[in-house]
Structures are given as C-alpha cells and as structure tokens.
C-alpha cells in the first residue's frame, strides 16, 4: 500500500464526493475514522450489486470534516478533465503516448516469453527435448507492440492541472453533531435504515456493532416527544441508544474569541424498562 500525501483529493462529480484512490480510502478509514460507502460495480461481476468496489462515496459531512481539518481538498473533477485534456501541451501528450508505447512493448515481450515457456513445457510433457534456440535479443522494431487503452486519467493527466474547488461542501443541519462525534473518534454511517441521520460506531464498523442512532438538531428546533419515544424504543430493541444533539450557537460564537469550549451537547436516550 502506497503512502498518501496529505491533503489528498476528493473528487466532486455530479454533486457526489468520491474517492477513486484505494490508498486514500484506506488512509481515510485508518487515520481519520471516515468510512464511506463503496458504490462502484466490479467489471468482472457487473450483474450483481452485493459486492461493490471503487469509487467510495463520502457523505458531504465526511468530505467537509476532512477539508476543514486540512486532510483533503475538493477536486472539481469534471473541469479538471475537461480543461486538462483539451489544453494539454504537445510535450505532455507525447510523453504520455511514449509511456503507453513502452508499456505496450513490455507487454508484447512478456507475452512472447510466456508463449515460449508454454511451448517448452508442452514439448517436455510429450517427452521431446525443448528447442535449443540461442537466446536472442529481439529487436524492438521487429516485435509488434500491444496497443494500450489507459483505464485511469493518471498518470496521463498531469497533477499540476487540477482544478481545486474553492467552496466547502454543503452539509445538512445535523453537521455539528456529526463533527462532534467524529472528533471523539466515532465512525458514522448513513442512518436511513433506522430512520435517523447517522448510525454511529465506537470503532471501525468491521469490528464493532453500532452504539447509537443519531439525529442532529438545531438548538431551538422543536421536536415531538413521540419521536423521542419512538427512537428510544427502536434503539433499545436493537441494543443501541438514541442520541440527539446539536450546537449551541451562543457557545460556538464565544469559542471564536475565547478559550475552546464544547458547543455541541448530546443526550442519550434508552427505554427505562418500566
């Protein structure tokens, strides 16, 4: 696994925040408790959607918290590709083509070598002596090179031509609670299946069951007690707590001028069993 240089790129495509680099995906999960959801089909198994691969889709909240903490930047990938390829200089284009030619030649040589090995093996099995040929250097010009179709934009597209997005990802109003839990080391995944904003794990979801079903609220947002009763009972039924929380804007504004205070407050709700 190659090491990742921070800040790494988060591709912003069609309103989604995606990671295409498998090293970035592992890094985000390992170092920054950002889990995401894999959404790519696997070319070899394209008629199923149980096993999915790259890219990883991040929630806007996850993308924002990574950008806010300086670990990542938002890459306007559509613009990067459009201008990057259209305005590519002749030298860059030639370098890319030359690299592809080299690769094609290597593949052709490797294929020929494999063919020769198969031939020798087959002859040996038949009991015949392998052909004693002098190992000759095959002149590059004589061997037909394979034609490569690149499957990734990089390294064809040089990294210097990236268009970085200046705006922060737009996040829903539950963001302060997400950010608070993220800072405490919790992993949050979308909570649609439980009717809440996030399902929160005390560690990597592969190792733990989730502890909380969380809903982020504004400090003065009115909620029905029936929702608390519903959430609490549902949570207790599945060995989780229902967590509601939000940010006190007054405390948050005080933070800017004074010492760091925790402006987010959360409440854990469980059925009392009586």
């Amino acid at each position: 696994m190659a090491s990742i240089v921070e800040p790494f790129a988060i591709s912003h495509i069609a309103g989604r925040f995606l990671l295409f680099d498998v090293d970035a995906i592992s890094h985000a999960r390992r170092e920054h408790n950002v889990c995401g959801v894999l959404i790519g089909t696997i070319p070899n198994l394209s008629q199923q959607n149980v096993f999915l691969g790259i890219p990883l889709e991040l929630m806007p909240e996850e993308a924002r918290v990574l950008v806010e903490q300086g670990h990542a930047y938002i890459l306007d990938d559509v613009e990067t590709h459009r201008s990057g390829f259209l305005e590519m200089s002749r030298e860059t284009r030639l370098t890319a083509l030359k690299a592809m030619d080299e690769k094609g030649r290597e593949l052709a040589i490797a294929a020929k070598k494999r063919a020769e090995e198969r031939q020798a093996k087959a002859l040996k099995e038949l009991g015949l002596a392998p052909k004693e040929t002098e190992p000759t250097e095959i002149p590059p010009t004589k061997l037909d090179r394979y034609f490569i179709t690149p499957t990734t934009s990089y390294p064809v597209l040089p990294k210097q031509q990236e268009t970085v997005s200046a705006t922060m990802p737009e996040v829903p109003r539950s963001y302060p609670l997400f950010r608070y839990l993220h800072s405490k080391g919790y992993f949050s995944t979308p909570g649609l299946r439980f009717g809440c904003h996030y399902t929160v794990y005390p560690g990597d979801p592969l190792r733990f069951h989730s502890h909380f079903l969380t809903t982020g609220l504004d400090w003065d947002e009115e909620f029905d007690l029936l929702d608390i009763v519903g959430g609490g009972r549902l949570g207790t039924g599945v060995k989780k707590s229902y967590l509601i929380g939000g940010e006190d804007r007054l405390l948050a504004d005080q933070c800017d001028s004074g010492p760091p205070l925790e402006s987010v407050r959360a409440f854990s709700i469980e059925w009392a069993g009586m």
């Binding site: 909620f223 060995k239 929380g245 006190d248 709700i269 009392a272 009586m274």
Partner: protein, 191 residues
Amino acid sequence: NLKHTMQSSPLQSLVDDPTMLSTSHLPSLHALAVQVQYNLQYQHSWTDLRLHTHSPTANEPLPRPLLSGLPPERLYVHPDEQIQLLKDAERRRKAKQKEGEDIGILDVQARPELEWLLPTRLGEKWTLRRLSEVFNVITAVPPEPDATDKDDHRPTNPWRATKRLVLATVGSDSTVVYYIVHDGVVKPRQN
C-alpha cells in the same frame, strides 16, 4: 342526583385538591407532576417520592416541576458497571462454594438509586435548549428525601458519572411511558 353516577377517580380527586396547587408553576404542569407521581407510586411501587418546584442548590424556581424518587429495583446499570457487578457476584459465589454453601445462582446485587423524573405530556414541543436548561439545574443525584437521617445516607455510586433523568411522558389515555435520558454520549446497555 349525580352523586352515584359521576364519581371522581382517586387521581382526579388528588389533582383537584386545592391544597395541591403550586405557587410557582401553572396548574397544568403541577397536576401533570402529581399524575406521574401517582403512577410511580401505585403502578410501579416507587417510594421516597418528592415533587420539586425549586432547585435543590439555589432557591430558584425550576423551569418545570420535577420529581425524585426511589425505584423498587435499581433502574439503570451502566454497561461497565454491569461487568463489575457480575464479577463481584461470581467472586461471592465462588467464596460460598468454598464454604460448602452452593447458592447455585449468580446473585447480582445493585442497590436502588434515587432518580430525577421530568413529567411531560405527549403533545408538548421540546428543544435541545429546553432539555439542557433542565439538566443545568439538577444535581447529579437527587437530594436524600430525609436530610436529617444521616445514617441512611447512600454512598455515591462511582459509576454514576453522567447526569441522567427519567423522561415520563403521559399520553392522551393516561398511560405513562418512561425513558432514561443521559446528559452526554453514553453507550447503550447490552440487555
């Protein structure tokens, strides 16, 4: 003569009692607290029930009337405390087995603890701000009902690290549901 066809329930009589009126809170809130207190006492066998209209620390009126009381069994055991209690019970069982008295079962002992209660009605609108305001004025543990009786003073449970209260919600048909609310991020019990 309606005397035999319409008779108030004991609860209705209790709530209607003019001596039950509060000087600090609206009758609807006060009656609500009395109704929850009644339910705790007669349906769930709670004891040491007290209705609080003022903060135990400052002499300020509370945002709403609150209750405190003692459940017949311990109401809340933190999951980490649960592990410790099980270990203690196992140790006791092993000791008893050594003495020849095999009690057979694990006797997990957890003394009941005083709890705060917040009476509410199902139709009420709440916000995080209002909930925080209630938590801000309560102590971690409710005051002992009889302050003069120092001998009976319960030792504070070291596992009781976050403030909690019991949200009691009365429905339109008078059923009361009880939910524990912790002031913080507290992991769930693994019942």
